[in-house]
């Protein structure tokens, strides 16, 4: 797998590069700001770009803007956003613009190399990756009449994994059940929450996240 890494803090960037190379991922370029990242991606056509959300010049959401540009211009290139913030708004914005081949992870996850490589692989497969803390914040939102209470403990676990962007097969592996069982859970979840999205599509992650945030 070929990736590029963009982060304005050199220490972090080189750490990521070293971990990835040790894990056998080919790093084809590094960038310190959004503009050079976009140029680099155009030049190297990698499988994915790992992008810090805050980069020069304004240190706000340059990473998200660059991600959107990359996904629009080169749909084959996946983007993994690294962020300091547990901010569902940012994750939702990313997924609303491009619901496939994108990921939003907290920055410290990148030093867990197995997790990082797994995220890159899932993005390469066309899936989405959402940090578990984002999902648990949304699931844990206080609600007046919580529709999530209608779910069984197992369904709730499946819901969280689904919202993190895992495929049915991956959920089955995590929960140590068969894929058919997961399919049944997902169907139940969508029925109980009255979600009218297609439970098998790639867009189900966005649908579930938006639902979790919208219901009070």
């Amino acid at each position: 797998m070929r990736v590029v890494v963009a982060d304005d803090v050199m220490l972090t960037r080189e750490g990521i590069v070293r971990l990835l190379e040790e894990a056998g991922v080919e790093v084809v370029g590094q960038a310190g700001d959004a503009a050079s990242l976009v140029r680099l991606v155009r030049g190297t056509q990698p499988d994915a770009a790992i992008v810090d959300i805050r980069m020069p010049p304004t240190h706000t959401d340059e990473g998200l803007v660059a991600a959107s540009m990359i996904r629009t211009e080169l749909p084959e290139v996946g983007v993994l956003i690294l962020s300091q913030y547990i901010e569902p708004s940012y994750a939702l914005r990313l997924l609303e613009e491009h619901p496939e081949r994108v990921g939003y992870l907290l920055k410290e996850r990148v030093f867990d190399v197995a997790l990082l490589v797994d995220a890159l692989r899932r993005i390469g497969d066309g899936e989405t990756v959402v940090d578990p803390t984002i999902v648990s914040r949304l699931v844990g939102r206080r609600r007046r009449e919580d529709p999530l209470e209608a779910l069984t403990a197992r369904e709730r676990e499946a819901l969280e994994l689904l919202a993190e962007g895992l495929s049915n097969r991956a959920i089955a592996a995590r929960l140590v059940v068969t894929e058919r069982t997961v399919e049944a859970h997902v169907k139940q979840i969508f029925t109980k929450l009255r979600l009218d999205a297609n439970p098998d599509s790639h867009r189900r992650v966005l649908a579930v996240l938006a639902y979790l945030r919208g219901v009070t």
Binding site: V9, L11, T12, G15, L19, E22, R54, H59, T60, D61, Q84, Y85, I86, E87, P88, S89, Y90, K107, E108, F111, D112, V113, T133, R137, L138, R141, R142, R143, R144, R213, T216
Partner: protein, 581 residues
């Protein structure tokens, strides 16, 4: 009193004598316009009398002696040709009148530049007035000394004698006559242009004041142009010809209107003075910040400004307490200080054409000065309030800037360092794993896990100090994020999606955050938040279902107040209105 009235009485006597004298002139052929026809006679008398009387009124009013004198002299000069043509007046008077007649146009020229207060503004204008006078006087003296009327082919008024004749020089006298005719043409044309320019350049208030005098002046000057052109074409003047008679009628009517205009100006100044002193009396009785409005109405000057002097902070403020620039005269405006016991209370700046600063000051009595001093004190209190509000807003602003700085430092400093440590620990663990050192591997894993906990806590701390998303994405996103981690269900209603001034967004955000936590403390199980923008106000409302509120939300009130907004708190509801112009 005698001195004050002597000059106008003299001028009026002159005028009446002239009218009487003209009435008795029965020469054939006529030697003056007045003697040519009954209509001309009446027009002539009305014109001269109205100039003399208008000038006399201006003189008596004591606003501008110069304007009064110019008006009276113009009236006297207007009658001069009648004296010149009246055989019964005798050679000396007739010769003198012939010389004085030339001054009518220069007097109009001077008057045009001296209105309304008698001062000719600008060096070029003063020089012009002097030059026109000098030329006219030069021509008058030259013709008096060298013109023998008997030898003048165009003579028609007094053709027998010139009392001042030193030596007859028909050529020189004729040349002087020609020079003056052409000069008169130029001066009269310039007068039309100057009058028009003055009217165009005047402010609306000044134009109202100048119109009744400048318009007749412009018409009179136009008639003088026509007169000069007619004389150039037909050097032998015939008061009975239709053309010359018509020109004379227009000149007379314009002069008459100018005299009436002068009288009107006198009445107008009197009216302005009495409304100022009436206003001053009203102020003394019921003072309530009405000095500016009252003066503006009394003088008819909408741009009039009153600035109060605050000696403590050495600055001027307007009546609402806002700091104002020091009023400077110039550009057609005058700044009149109003003092009490030697102290400056206020400075009134108004259109120079309306009232002289001195006149304004004179109309304001001591009782009114007390009232104005009270207004000044009120303005001072308001100015202090202004200052206070400004400093409150700055304190809140500084606090927010500090919070923001802290948040950034936590993210860019401490968090980056912890990330680096986390990375090193993972390297150490990998190395230990390679060496088969299980104990070290376990320790490194534990340390890495603890760092992750520390990073999480640090993040929450930073988030609580300052929500970065507020600056980056606005109030709506920030409130959504606040609802994500609120301790009770928060329903977000409509929130304006457009960006608002940063201070408004911050104040609205912290007001909602504090109110939600306060509601949670009162046992609320639910809160709803909405914000709506109406004009220049953002209204933020938070409702909840908790127990009734027993205290007030001091921090929210302070914060909103610092921005100049208001907070209305009910038992379970809070509405904050923030100005966001």
């Amino acid at each position: 009193m005698t001195a004050r009235l002597a000059i106008p009485v003299l001028a009026v006597v002159c005028a009446i004598t002239a009218v009487v004298a003209v009435g008795s002139a029965v020469d054939r052929p006529p030697s003056s316009y007045a003697a040519a026809s009954g209509t001309a006679d009446i027009a002539d008398a009305l014109a001269g009398l109205s100039l003399v009387l208008g000038g006399a009124l201006a003189w008596i009013q004591d606003r501008s002696r110069v304007v009064g004198v110019l008006g009276m002299l113009a009236g006297v000069a207007w009658f001069a040709p009648d004296w010149e043509g009246w055989v019964g007046a005798g050679p000396l008077v007739r010769s003198l009148a012939a010389a004085v007649a030339v001054l009518y146009l220069p007097l109009l020229f001077h008057l045009c530049l001296a209105l309304p207060a008698g001062r000719v503004r600008g060096g070029a204008a003063r020089l012009g007035v002097v030059a026109v006078y000098a030329l006219a006087v030069g021509v008058a003296i030259g013709r008096a000394l060298f013109r023998d009327p008997f030898l003048d082919p165009y003579c028609w008024r007094t053709c027998l004698d010139n009392a001042f004749l030193v030596h007859a020089e028909p050529g020189l006298a004729g040349a002087l006559g020609d020079i003056w005719m052409r000069a008169a043409l130029v001066v009269a044309a310039a007068l039309v242009v100057i009058a028009a320019l003055r009217l165009v350049a005047a402010t609306p208030a000044a134009r109202r004041v100048l119109l009744p005098t400048l318009v007749p002046l412009a018409v009179a000057a136009t008639a003088e142009v026509a007169y000069a052109v007619a004389l150039v074409r037909t050097p032998l003047e015939n008061p009975e010809s239709a053309g010359f008679a018509a020109i004379f009628l227009v000149r007379s009517l314009a002069a008459c209107a100018l005299g009436l205009g002068l009288a009107w100006s006198v009445v107008n100044v009197r009216r302005m003075r009495s409304s100022v002193s009436r206003l001053a009396a009203e102020l003394a009785e019921a003072p309530a910040g009405t000095l500016r409005d009252g003066l503006a109405a009394a003088l008819g000057d909408r741009d009039l400004e009153v600035h109060y002097w605050l000696p403590g902070s050495e600055r001027f403020v307007s009546s609402d307490g806002a700091t104002a620039a020091a009023p400077a005269p110039g550009n057609g405006r005058v700044a009149t200080p109003i003092t009490r016991g030697g102290r400056t209370l206020a400075v009134v700046s108004h259109d120079a054409a309306l009232l002289e600063g001195r006149e304004l000051e004179l109309q304001i009595g001591s009782a009114a000065r007390l009232a104005i001093d009270n207004e000044r004190l009120q303005a001072e209190v308001l100015a202090q309030l202004h200052d206070l509000r400004g400093s409150r807003a700055r304190i809140v602003e500084a606090g927010d800037a500090e919070r923001r700085r802290l948040e950034r430092n936590l993210h860019d400093g401490a968090q980056q360092r912890l990330l680096a440590v986390s990375y090193d620990l993972r390297l150490a663990r990998a190395a230990a794993e390679k060496d088969g050192d299980l104990e070290l591997t376990g320790l490194a894993s534990l340390a890495a896990a603890r760092i992750d906990v520390a990073l999480g806590e640090l993040r929450e701390l930073a988030e609580g100090i300052y929500p970065a998303i507020l600056t980056e994405a606005g109030l709506g996103m920030a409130l959504a994020s606040l609802a994500d981690r609120a301790p009770l269900p928060v329903e977000l209603g409509d929130i304006p999606s457009e960006r608002l001034p940063p201070a408004v967004e911050r104040t609205a955000y912290y007001a909602v955050e504090e109110t939600i936590h306060e509601a949670h403390g009162r046992g609320a199980s639910f809160a709803s938040v909405r914000a709506e923008r109406a004009g220049d106000t953002l209204a933020v409302t938070v409702d909840d279902d908790g127990a009734d509120r027993d205290g007030s939300l001091v921090h929210v009130t302070d914060r909103v107040g610092a921005l100049g907004g208001t907070v209305a708190a009910g038992p379970t509801t809070l509405r904050a209105e923030l100005p966001c112009a």
